[in-house]
């Protein structure tokens, strides 16, 4: 097991290193600079400003410096926010994104599982059709369209929840719902398929034959076995949420990392683009690793370490 984890961590480092290198040189290919008023300065003056950012050095030197700093957790200084460290900016902004992502994930998987369960239990019944319908629609409407509609009708017309901003739990309701739609849809469809498969298997039939009632079977035997494969979709779900936050945070004026990333993209603020890219990549790899390990722990059929 330890060997396996170490091996995976090794891959993780290599991947991070490659991503950092790849992004660094991509950014060097792009135009854009920390100058906010390049149209107002002579070229000599521009060079003086660039000196501060170390941008007058040859690219290999810049690359070396960046990697050395990166190893120490220093992501450089933002182009658009003068003197502000990218690390600080990201730490400032990550809280709301994490909270939204976590809430959406929890609500999404729980609701999705329930929907999927209902579908499976009442297979081919009205509840099955309506919950599966909800799942397909949820997966088919772009989340920002949904968010816009939600904001106007629930926020403005009905006035149930705050329209936007970030000042307390009630402010998280609408963005969380907008974000959760996708996980709900995925989890529901996945759960339904898995549950149907489990419910059709021999041991369930046996349990039923032995007189365990319908719900007992579903919860005692079915759910457990259907849950294991569900863990595998959590990874892609988390990634889907990252994509979602980019647009949802803008619409609901949430001071999160996604909103910051979009702004950085639109202003070519490379230190922030790179910092956020590395962060997203790290989270991604980390989640995949955790899920793989979890999978080994939960599923008795997969025992990695001893088996090898």
């Amino acid at each position: 097991m330890t060997r396996y984890i170490l091996q995976r961590l090794g891959y993780m480092l290599i991947t991070m290193f490659l991503i950092a290198t790849f992004t660094f040189f991509l950014m060097k290919l792009l135009p854009g600079s920390p100058l906010a008023a390049a149209d107002k300065l002579s070229e000599e003056q521009q060079a003086i400003v660039l000196e501060k950012y170390g941008l007058n050095d040859p690219v290999p030197v810049q690359y070396f410096n960046y990697m050395v700093n990166l190893a120490q957790g220093d992501l450089g200084i933002s182009f658009q926010f003068d003197n502000r460290e990218v690390t600080t900016i990201i730490l400032d902004r990550i809280g709301p994104s994490m909270q939204l992502g976590f809430q959406a994930m929890v609500i999404g998987t729980i609701l999705g599982m329930l929907l999927g369960l209902v579908s499976a239990i009442y297979h081919n019944g009205f509840l099955d059709y309506s919950s599966t319908f909800l799942a397909v629609v949820g997966q088919s409407i772009p989340s920002f369209v949904f968010a816009g509609i939600l904001q106007y009708y629930v926020g403005v017309r009905l006035g149930w929840f705050p329209v936007a901003l970030w000042e307390g739990w009630e402010y998280t309701v609408l963005p969380t719902i907008s974000l959760a739609i996708f996980p709900i849809a995925i989890a529901a469809r996945f759960m339904r398929t898995e549950m149907l498969e489990v419910l059709g298997s021999d041991y369930i039939t046996t349990a039923r034959a032995k007189g365990v009632n319908k719900f007992g079977v579903v919860f005692k035997h079915g759910l457990r076995n259907a849950l294991i494969p569900l863990i595998t979709v959590l990874g892609p779900l988390a990634i889907g949420l990252m994509t979602g936050t980019l647009v949802i945070e803008n619409i609901f004026a949430v001071p999160g990392i996604g909103e910051q990333f979009v702004k950085a993209i639109n202003t070519n603020d490379f230190p922030i683009i790179m910092g956020t890219t590395l962060l997203i990549a790290f989270l991604f790899i980390f989640i995949v690793l955790v899920i793989d390990l979890l999978y080994g722990v939960i599923d008795p059929r997969i025992r990695l370490a001893e088996g090898e």
Binding site: K40, L41, F81, D92, D128, F133, G159, W166, N250, A253
Partner: protein, 565 residues
Amino acid sequence: MKKTNWYLLVLALVLSLFLAACSGGDDSETGSEGEGTDTTETDSEGSDEASGDSEQVLNIMDSAEIPTMDASLATDAVAFQWLGSTTDGLYRLGEGAEPEPGIATDHEVSEDALTWTFNLREDAVWSNGDPVTANDFVYAWQRAVNPDTGSEYGPYMMNGVILNAEAVSAGDMPVEELGVTAVDDYTLEVQLEKPIPYFESLTTFGTFLPLNQAFVEEQGDQYALEAETLLSNGPFVMTEWNHGEGWTLEKNQDYWDAENVQLEEINVRVVKETATGVNLYETGEVDRAGLSAEFVDQYSSSDEYRIEEEPVLFYVKMNQENEILSNVNARKAIQMVIDRQGIVDVILNNGSLPSVGHIPANFVSHPDSGEDFRELSGDLIETNVEEAQQLWSTAKEELGIEEAELGYLGGDSEVAQNMDAYIKDQLEQLEGLTVNVESVPFQVRLDRDTAMDYDLQNSGWGPDYIDPNTFLNMFVTDGANNKTGYASEEYDSLIAEANNELALEPVERFENFLEAEQLLIQDDAVIAPLYQRASAQLWKPYVQGVIVNPMGPDYTYKYAYIEGK
């Protein structure tokens, strides 16, 4: 059967959704419902008691996070706005863009107009208790041009204005040589490079704000990064700054003019989407919201609807290094073929004006008669598609071409997509012309502008001080922000004369600018003017006394108050 039934259900429901959305589609209600209306009619009458009752709190939005609160590094509207609200410079922008006393009570100008001596008030203090002294200005200005600071606006605003700024900013001279000295604690002497008629207006600008040397040096790298690491000497103090989310300003009780400041608190939230802003306004969370063209249709009949004119011009820059655009007839054809009225009426729909020159309307007026520059200068271009076609065919003949292809760098405003598509369509009315639109981020556009890597470019310019020079100085030969390849000795001499020999002759100077503008737009067709920007907004009627500025900070909140909320 299997799992097929629900698919049918899905399609049926999608269809019904579609129908429902369609029939409900055009239902729109106006802003007059909700909290705003009830208070609409409580206008000024009987307001005295009301103002006492209202909580003096202003809730507003900004479209972006503050990039910096360091006056030396500030470059954009958001930064200048909040610097201006928390810090007083020598002078402040008051009603009608007239400078009013800030830290300086008055000043004397020497006969040769090269030495300005400011007398500072003695009751101004920083929010840490230190008095505001002449040295704070000396330090701030030296810091702005010091190459180690890496300021962009420092050299831009001061080079050629303050004595030795050019050499200091290039690192060729120690900062102490900069032409600004503290005669004593409350007397500041400024040496100018040449007479600058608009210098008083310049001193209100963000880059010229004072800094408390001891505090700034103590904070070092951390200066102005958080609410705790910055000082204020102005009407408001920043008490809270949650990056990305918003910030809070409270009244500065120690402000020298505190008795004239009524607002107790300003809450600013960062909101980027227009629709989100309007929705927040509707639910009463904020007191002001900007409107896009679509929302103007809905709200223009509201009592809370306001238009704010700005002296910001947008135009198409034409790169004369391009063979086609080097032809003056081709450029004139491009100027004439664009329907500016359509742009302002339909695409912008926010009170923007068609632009017919390179000086905005209501910006500067004749020193004697007081007539507006724009009125005196008149419409330097008009839209005339037929004449444009003729000019275009002449140009094609002169160039010996039948077809032409030009690249177009798009703008970056909210309406950019529609604007770019429209201008492409307008330009392609010229026979045989193909326009390839490229939408790029603002930064990239600036880079390509600097490298002159473009054919046509949607560009904008706002004034840095109130003088025609801020617009017309751009296009002198090899000017840092000319970048069109335009080189005219006649134009250069007109501008040079205005800034040197005629610096102290306001009327003749004004005439020079009139002549220069005509040369630039009408004779040489250097740029194709598009529009003068305005912004459409909703304001809660209980917000009073906010001054809208043509430059520097967009708004002055010093005299704002809440009445009858």
